[in-house]
C-alpha cells in the first residue's frame, strides 16, 4: 500500500454544541482527525455519537441551533469554519462534496436526473450546455448506469434505489472534488446493491485519486473500504488507527465491546457479549470518560477527567487509561506485536 502522507483535510480540537430546551448538548467534543489525499478514512460510531454533525460542519451545513465553540477544520490549508456563505458555496460541490443516506429524499423528485447532476457543473464552472450534457453522460457511465443517454431524462422515482445512489455519487463527482464525504451511503440499500456501490466507490477513488471520508455504523463495511478508522463515542474520538490493526487489536473498551457484540456464524452457540447500558444523552454526559458507566474496565481515575489520547505506535491511538492492555496478549500488558509479525487478515 503506497504511503499517503499529503494531508488534505485537517481537523483540530473541534467542539460543537447544540442549544436545546434541556440545556446545551455537547454533540462534538475535541474531535481531531485527518484525511490524506487519495485515502479512504472511516468515521464509525452509533447513532447520536456526533459523526454526521462533524461532517456537516465542514460544509457549513449545521442547523441554526448548533454552535461551533472552538476548533478548526482546514482543507488543503484553507480554514473552513467561519467562512461566509459566498466562500462556502465555492467549496461545496467543487472541493468537498457529500453523498447522503437516503437517495429518494436527497434527490429532488420534480427535476430530471440529468438536470440535477448538471446543476453543480453549471454553478461552479462556466461551460456551455452541450459540454455539460456530455460530461453528465460520462459521469453516468462512470458510475455504472447502463444507457446513460436515456437515463438523463428520467425522474428519480423511475430509478431503483441502487441507481439513485449512483446518481447521487455522480452528482458528488461532477466537479471533481478533492474530498467526498459519504454519510451512510449504503445503509438503505440491499446487500448485493451495497456491494456494487462499495466496489464503485473504490474504483472511482483509485481512478481520480479522491479522498473519501466514509461515515457509517457498519463495522463490516468499514473493514472493506477504509484504510484508516476513527471510532467515535459520545462526541469524542475514542480510538483511531489503520483498519487491520484496529480490528485485530482494539485497545479501547468501547471498540472491543462493539467488535465482541457483532453476531457472526463463528459465534454460534455462544452467548453474545453486549455492552450494558445505553448511549448517554449529549445534554447530560457523565463526568470524566464518557464510556465509564458502561465500561467493564473502568477504574476510579476514569471518573475524574476525560483521558487523553495515548499513542500506541503506527498511527494507532486510544483514549483510555488502560490502552496499553492488549486483548491479544492479556498476560503481558504493554507489549504490542511487532510490525513484521502482524497478520493482515484478507
Amino acid at each position: 500500500m503506497e504511503l499517503k502522507t499529503e494531508t488534505l483535510l485537517s481537523v483540530a480540537d473541534l467542539h460543537i454544541t447544540f442549544r436545546t430546551l434541556a440545556g446545551p448538548a455537547r454533540a462534538v467534543e475535541g474531535v481531531s482527525l485527518g484525511v490524506c489525499r487519495g485515502e479512504t478514512v472511516a468515521l464509525v460510531g452509533e447513532s447520536g455519537c456526533g459523526k454526521s454533525v462533524t461532517a456537516l460542519s465542514f460544509l457549513g451545513l449545521l442547523p441554526r441551533a448548533a454552535v461551533i465553540e472552538q476548533g478548526s477544520a482546514s482543507l488543503g490549508g484553507v480554514e473552513l469554519l467561519g467562512l461566509d456563505e459566498e466562500e462556502l458555496r465555492k467549496i461545496r460541490g467543487r472541493r468537498i462534496s457529500m453523498v447522503f443516506q437516503e437517495p429518494l429524499t436527497s434527490l429532488n423528485p420534480v427535476f430530471k436526473v440529468g438536470d440535477q447532476i448538471g446543476e453543480a457543473i453549471r454553478v461552479h464552472e462556466a461551460v456551455d450546455e452541450d459540454e455539460i450534457r456530455r460530461r453528465v453522460v460520462t459521469l453516468l457511465r462512470d458510475v455504472g448506469i447502463p444507457n446513460p443517454e436515456e437515463r438523463l431524462d428520467d425522474y428519480p422515482h423511475q430509478l431503483s434505489g441502487g441507481q439513485r445512489q449512483r446518481v447521487m455519487i455522480a452528482m458528488a463527482l461532477s466537479c471533481n472534488p478533492e474530498l467526498m464525504i459519504a454519510d451512510e451511503p449504503t445503509t438503505a440499500l440491499d446487500v448485493t446493491v451495497q456491494a456494487q456501490i462499495l466496489a464503485l466507490m473504490r474504483s472511482l477513488q483509485e481512478e481520480r485519486r479522491m479522498s473519501i471520508l466514509y461515515i457509517t455504523h457498519d463495522l463490516g463495511v468499514v473493514s472493506q473500504v477504509a484504510e484508516r478508522v476513527y471510532v467515535m463515542y459520545a462526541g469524542m474520538i475514542v480510538e483511531e488507527g489503520r483498519t487491520p490493526t484496529l480490528f485485530e487489536d482494539p485497545r479501547h473498551p468501547y471498540t472491543q465491546g462493539l467488535l465482541a457484540s457483532l453476531p457472526s456464524r463463528g459465534k454460534r452457540g455462544r452467548r453474545l457479549s453486549s455492552i450494558a447500558g445505553h448511549v448517554p444523552d449529549p445534554a447530560c454526559k457523565p463526568v470524566g470518560c464518557p464510556f465509564h458507566p458502561r465500561c467493564p474496565k473502568a477504574m476510579d481515575p476514569c471518573t475524574a477527567s476525560v483521558p487523553t489520547m495515548i499513542d500506541l505506535g503506527d498511527g494507532h491511538q486510544a483514549r483510555c487509561l488502560r490502552a496499553h492492555e492488549s486483548a491479544l496478549n492479556p498476560a503481558e500488558p504493554g507489549q504490542r506485536p511487532a510490525d513484521g509479525d502482524r497478520r493482515v487478515k484478507g
Binding site: S274, A276, H278, P280, D281, C284
Partner: protein, 380 residues
Amino acid sequence: MSEAQNTCQADPPAAVPAGEGRIEAFRRMFQGNRMAFAGLVVFLAFFLTAFAGLFLTSGSDPVFDPAQVRLENKLRPPLSVPFAGTLEEDARPPFGVFLLGTDDLGRDVFARMLQGAWVSLTVGFVAVGIAVAVGILLGGIAGYFGSNRVQVGEVLWACAWAGALLAFAQGAGRLALGLFFAGPVILLLRRLRFLRGPLRFLERGTFSVDTLVMRLVDIMLCFPSFFLILTVVALLPASMYNIMIVIGLTSWMGTARFVRAEFLSLREQDFVTAARALGIGTWRIIFRHMMPNAIAPVLVSATIGIATAILTEAGLSFLGFGVPPPHATWGNILSDGKNFIFDAPWLTFVPGVAILIVVLCFNLFGEGLREALNPKLRER
C-alpha cells in the same frame, strides 16, 4: 458480563422528565405560544360569561332581565342612568346604570348580551359536536375499510330499504313492507344450494366504501352551506335545536376528510398490525387504538368550527331565521340595531365587537393548538 448487566433497567436519560403527565404536557404546549394562550383565556372567559349569563338571566325574577320593556328609556346610551321617576323598583337595572345601554324597546342590552352568549355557546358547541361525531364516524369508516368493496347485494338492499321508506311516506304500506323484506328474503334464498350459482352476481364488488363516503362528502360540499342551512331552517319550525342540528349536519365534511387522511396513514403503521395480530376486534382498534392518534387535526378544526358556527348563527339571526324572539341572540341584537345605526350605534357595535372578539380568539386558539400539537406529534 453478568446477567444483571445484560438486561438493562429502563431508566431513560435523566433529561426526560419522569412520567410526564397530561397536565405538564398541556402546559408545555402553550409555553412558547402567547397567542394561543390569550385565545384560551378568552375562551374560558367566554365560557364563564355564558354560564353566568344563563343563571343571571333566566327564571321569573332574574338579576339581569333581558325581557323587561321600559318604553320611556328606549335607546339610552351605555353607562347612562335611567330617567328619574320613570322606573319602578323591579324595573331598575342592577347597579342603577344601563351598562351597555338599551335597545328600541328599552330592554337592557347587557342582559340581552348575556342571554345571547348562552345561545351562541350552545349552538357553537353542539353544532360542532354533531359535526365532529358524524365526521369521525364517516372518516374513520372510509379510512379503515376504504378498500373494501360494497357488494351488489348490499347496494340492492340499501335501495330496497330506501324505496320502502319512500313508499311508507307516500302511504303505500304494502309496497313498503314488501320492499323491506326483500333483502332478508334474498339472503335466505342464497342459502339454498341450487340458487347459489345464479345469485353469485350479488357478491360481486362494486365501488369501495372509500369511494362511497368521499362522493357523499363531495355532494355535500357542492351545496353552498349557508344557503343550504337557510333553506332547511326556513322549512323547519324555528327553534334553537333545529338550527344546531342543521349547522352540525352541514359542516362535518372537513373533519371526515382529516380523519380519513390520518387513518389511511395510521393503517400502515406497525402498531395497528400488531393490534390485529393480537386478535383485537375491529371496532376497538378503530376507536381505542387509532382514533386518539387521529384526533389532533380534528381538535384544531373543531375549535375553529365553533367560531364559524357562532358566526353562522349570528348570520341566521340577523336575517330573521334564527332563534325566535323574544329570546335574545347576538345576531338578533345586531339585527334590531341596524335600523338605528346612527341614533344608537352601540346596538350594532356591542354585539359586533363581541362576536369579533370571540371568533378571533377561537381562531387564535385553534391556530395555537395546531402549532402546539404538530411538532409534538413529529417528536413522537
